[in-house]
Symmetry: C2
DNA sequence: GAACAGCATTCCTAAATAAGGAACACCCTT
DNA sequence: AAGGGTGTTCCTTATTTAGGAATGCTGTTC
């Protein structure tokens, strides 16, 4: 898997700007990426020509440019997965007063593709393009379903699992057990594990080959918990996920849950 | 203005994928960009590592990857202009049953940053990241305000002005006169010029230096036109644009004297 | 107010890097 | 079974980049 190193360096600049809120100077970028100022200057010139970065007129510092929206539009308007999921998420948000999410895995993090806020006063502020931890969220666990213990450790084992609340599972072996246990029921949960007072229920989305390519989840405040049976929410979320999977061409041999390994 | 040619080629691939709806193969990209398949392969490998492109498993073709959303999030959530304009656009959409837009100029096209749909049944389907012609839209003309005739010709003169409706202004000299004429009233209009039956009114947004950095507009069906005086809509739009400009630090010498802070 | 320290930006040449033809493996269709 | 299509990799040439030094600018400090 050989690549293009110059392009790599340019993308590193983009990725850096993405993670920095404040505009940043050429030399500052060069320092952080361990490159010469001249090299970064040339990279910024090229990125600026395409509108992917912009220079603040007076401070001469750089930030991401507005043209990146044109790229995002492709995903939000042309991507099949996003298009199919949107109606399902909105139905979930409307029916159950849930916040609803669609995400994919990106290395050791989840990446929100769609976020639909509930009509209820309690709203979870997340937006498409935002990333989130896999180990503490229902959606993250759904994205890790049907992976072997080795594969999960390969993905999450590089860094210690961050303790976000007292109930976060920080032992990877326990997390593996939890995820593997969820495969028989078909949905995942996170109760106070990512944010105190928040309950989330997730389920995986499959493409035509049967591979898990995305996940959806709903989240709601713990306070309404007693009113709703988690298992019931799980069935609702699973049903929505299954409909999305079916639209993507997934045909489950057994229309019930369980045993997805032999999808023809 | 020297740049980085390898990065340039990589961005060309991104820009191509952005404009193509269907996934595309390596050799096909190479043909369109007049490069070798091997070079494009290396570029795609690097882009894929960052998640900016994805390969369809079975067809082995490539399309834009979901990570581009992470870049867009920066603009939609961190950009000052977008943040300030959002409330104003929503107010415009709610009060007047208008579709409301925020955009910047990108070379010879406009680029929507925000689009807010009206509550009325007639909705204009546009989304952030979409581009639009400057010469036939109120928003486009607002983005060209206060430019000299030479500058406007420099921007739009490369290609003939496309006739989108019978009322589109396709003579650049007439367009210049129209734009310059709008500067004294402060707002721009497009009546059936971009899309038959559609009326739009736009106004420029300025930063602290007084330069026009963006524009806003509202659009509504011609059928409700007789009910609303365009001049009145113009004042409403201008007022919203002025508020955004003020939030960006613009202090107009000619505007109403409120001026609480000291200007040096 | 002058020297200074920081900045973005440009030039030039050594040296790292990418390009491209050819080759390989893998579908399809014929 | 053959042919044309695909994505992908290898290897050498030579294109292209990197980086120190230089420039001009801005704001700060002594």
């Amino acid at each position: 898997m050989t690549g293009n190193l110059s392009l790599e360096r340019g993308l590193a600049v983009l990725d850096l700007l993405k993670d920095i809120d404040e505009p940043i100077g050429v030399r500052d970028i060069a320092r952080r990426l361990d490159q010469s100022a001249a090299a970064v200057q040339r990279i910024l010139n090229t990125l600026a020509e395409h509108g992917y970065v912009e220079q603040i007129a007076e401070s001469r510092r750089y930030r991401l440019g507005h043209s990146v929206l044109a790229l995002a539009r492709y995903i939000l308007r042309k991507d099949r997965l996003v298009g199919l999921a949107e109606a399902e998420l909105q139905a979930l948000a409307a029916e159950g007063c849930f916040n609803a999410f669609l995400a994919v895995r990106r290395d050791d993090r989840g990446l929100y593709l769609l976020t639909v806020q509930s009509k209820s006063p309690v709203v979870i502020r997340s937006s498409p393009g935002e990333s989130f931890p896999l180990h503490s969220t229902a959606l993250g666990k759904a994205l890790l379903m049907e992976l072997s213990a080795e594969a999960i450790i390969e993905i999450l084992g590089q860094a210690p699992l961050e303790r976000l609340t007292p109930r976060t599972v920080t032992e990877i072996s326990k997390l593996v057990v939890q995820i593997h246990g969820s495969e028989s029921v078909g949905y995942t949960t996170s109760i106070d594990e990512n944010f105190a007072g928040l309950i989330a229920v997730g389920a995986p989305v499959r493409d035509a080959s049967g591979a898990i390519v995305a996940g959806i989840s709903v989240a709601y405040p713990r306070s309404v918990g007693p009113l709703v049976e988690i298992a019931e929410v799980g069935e609702t979320v699973m049903a929505a996920a299954t409909r999305i999977s079916a639209s993507l061409g997934y045909r489950d041999a057994r229309s019930q849950h369980k045993d997805p390994s032999h999808a023809a």
